[in-house]
Amino acid sequence: MRALAAGLCATIALLGACTEGDRTAAGAAAAPGEVAMAGTPEGIPSHAPARFGFGSEASDARVAMWDIDVRPDGEGLPAGSGSVAQGRDVYNVHCVACHGPTGTEGPNDRLVDSEQWDDVPGTRTVGNYWPYATTLYDYIRKAMPQLTPGILSHDQVYAVIAYILWMNEIVPEDAVMDAETLPAVVMPARDKFVVDDRVGGAGIVR
């Protein structure tokens, strides 16, 4: 019996999958040349425990340390605030070298273009392309300024967002951005975005 099992195992091994302890038939369907792992589709053998217990539970403080993303509904925005005027100062210190005096000169991404579009965007800036203002917070806090990311305080991030939105004629000059006002900003291009509807299949090009 053992010899028979070993022979079977050797045969299956030729196809690419047979490990000691495998007791179930192959899981997911497989095409010639590719053999699914035995057990569940994701490759966990049927005799595996419900939990392995490797790793450690993360405390609320540990999660909060890294949970810095910001969603369109405003979840994740920290306390703090900043005005257009304050943002002008932040911009002229930390942003102007890469984005230009008016956010249009580069050399890096153009930030400002308040001219809207009907069929095709001429530029893809905050003013005429970005669908959510909250993305500015998410991105600037994580990635900007490019050479000194993370250097800006919460107030400074809110302020420079207010300034960029004002340059794009989206908020008035007396605007103040905070966790309440930023998610309420309606971006001009928001309704232009549609979720991918491509599918495979014969004769279909989308």
Binding site: A31, P32, G33, E34, M37, P41, E42, G43, I44, P45, A48, R51, F52, F54, G55, S56, E57, A58, R62, V63, W66, D67, I68, D69, V70, R71, P72, D73, W117, D118, D119, V120, P121, R124, V126, Y129, W130, P131, Y132, T134, T135, D138, Y139, K142, A143, Q146, P149, K192, F193, V194, V195, D196, D197, R198, G200, G201, A202, G203, V205, R206
Partner: protein, 418 residues
């Protein structure tokens, strides 16, 4: 006679002149003879001792394929030399690169992955924890969705362009790691969850939203590539790998997964990696890479030295599954024949195709088109223009063409067909 003025002799010539040399008294000892062989006939490796074993192999001096670097900038890319490669696996040091803020230096022993959000147990995993979980390996392609953008503009269709410059943001590796589903089983996903946010530990903290169904189906947290640990430019020590999805979603240097009930709409899924369609809409979350093929030989700047039998070779792949057919045309798309596919044909991996071609020496254009298991056929550029407009920047998977001139010179030929 000074050394550098000695005539260089082939082995045959050396043999015929040896007696004369000895007669002239130039060779007096065996040592002199070995030196003379080494100097005068170095092309005969059967007559000189070889090099010894080493701890790390190197390529032959004459074989030095290189990535094509776009720009020395923090946000930049380098492209795989597709025309130099055989089979489907990309050597890890030639895998294409796309970084948004350079390559971070992360130590294996320091790296942590946090999984939290809509889970029963938020957890932190260190690399030894992750490597202890059941392991999977999958041979899969990775392609940047911006690949091929250089041949979409009707007015600026290039001719003198290599397949590396055109489509080198494509590579194939055997990726090894732990299934995302294994770890999500460990932390316990709460009802109502539908997306994850994956975030990198580079200085761009690059992050993308990915549907939960996708990562549960076949995504892996990869720490191995082609038998070795993932290289720093591929995300060392840990990256997300989403088979068949646009490369940007396979977040490198992965440090955090948050399970959510909605996409986060990060910068790289709103202002970038979205597709204006020409009708006033912008397609978002266009994640799957549609079927595509490229001929890698013959391609610019190769010159066919004479007519006769040549083998057209290339790669085909689909993010929706397996390639089922690749057709080749050698008459500018008027007629098509099935190319031979080199098995095994794997899910969401490249397949090598070949077609034996008897070139009659006349001017012609060759093309390839792939079909995947859904029945989808790689479209023409006109079909893509019709469906998506002419101003999209990503997912340009249309058929490519190469012109073969009477001189044997090969140039990119799509411009002649549109």
């Amino acid at each position: 006679m000074p050394r550098d003025e000695r005539p260089r002799l082939s082995r045959r010539a050396w043999i015929t002149t040896t007696s004369g040399v000895i007669a002239a008294g130039l060779v007096k000892t065996q040592s002199d003879a070995i030196k003379l062989v080494a100097q005068e006939a170095p092309s005969d490796p059967t007559k000189v001792p070889g090099r010894l074993v080493s701890e790390l192999g190197t390529r032959a001096p004459a074989e030095q394929p290189k990535r094509l670097v776009r720009a020395q900038a923090l946000s930049s890319s380098s492209r795989t030399p597709l025309a130099d490669l055989m089979g489907t696996i990309t050597p890890a040091d030639l895998h294409f690169e796309r970084h948004h803020a350079g390559i971070p230096d992360i130590q294996f022993e320091d790296h942590e992955l946090l999984i939290h959000g809509m889970v029963e147990r938020p957890m932190v995993f260190r690399m030894p924890d992750l490597m202890r979980y059941p392991q999977v390996s999958r041979i899969r392609f990775l392609e940047c969705s911006g690949n091929g953008g250089g041949v979409y503009n009707r007015e600026r269709m290039p001719t003198e362009v290599t397949v590396q410059a055109l489509d080198g943001l494509l590579s194939t590796s055997e990726w090894t790691g732990v299934a995302v589903s294994t770890l999500l089983r460990e932390v316990g996903v709460r009802p109502g969850a539908s997306w994850i946010l994956a975030e990198g530990g580079d200085s761009a903290v690059m992050s993308r939203s990915v549907p939960l169904d996708k990562v549960m189906e076949d995504s892996i947290l990869a720490y191995g590539q082609n038998g070795e640990r993932i290289r720093p430019e591929q995300g060392y020590p840990l990256r997300l790998f989403n088979p068949g999805y646009e490369g940007n979603t396979s977040v490198k240097w992965l440090r955090r997964i948050e399970v959510t009930d909605q996409p986060t709409h990060t910068r790289d899924e709103t202002s970038k990696y979205t597709d204006p369609l020409g009708d006033g809409t912008v397609r978002q979350f266009s994640l799957v890479m549609d079927a595509k093929s490229v001929i890698t030989f013959p391609s610019y700047p190769y010159v066919l030295p004479d007519p006769g039998w040549w083998e057209i070779r290339g790669l085909a792949w689909s993010g929706r599954g397996r390639i089922t057919r690749v057709e080749v045309s050698t008459d500018g798309g008027r007629s098509w024949v099935d190319a031979a596919l080199q098995g095994p044909i794997l899910d969401k991996s490249t397949v090598r195709f070949r077609h034996l071609f008897d070139w009659n020496g006349r001017d012609t254009v060759i093309l390839s088109r792939a079909t995947d298991e859904t029945g989808y056929v790689q479209p023409t550029v006109e079909q893509l223009w019709e469906a998506r407009g002419t101003r999209t920047s990503y997912h340009q998977n249309h058929q490519r063409a190469w012109r073969i001139a009477r001189t044997g010179e090969v140039t990119f030929g799509l411009g002649e067909l549109v």
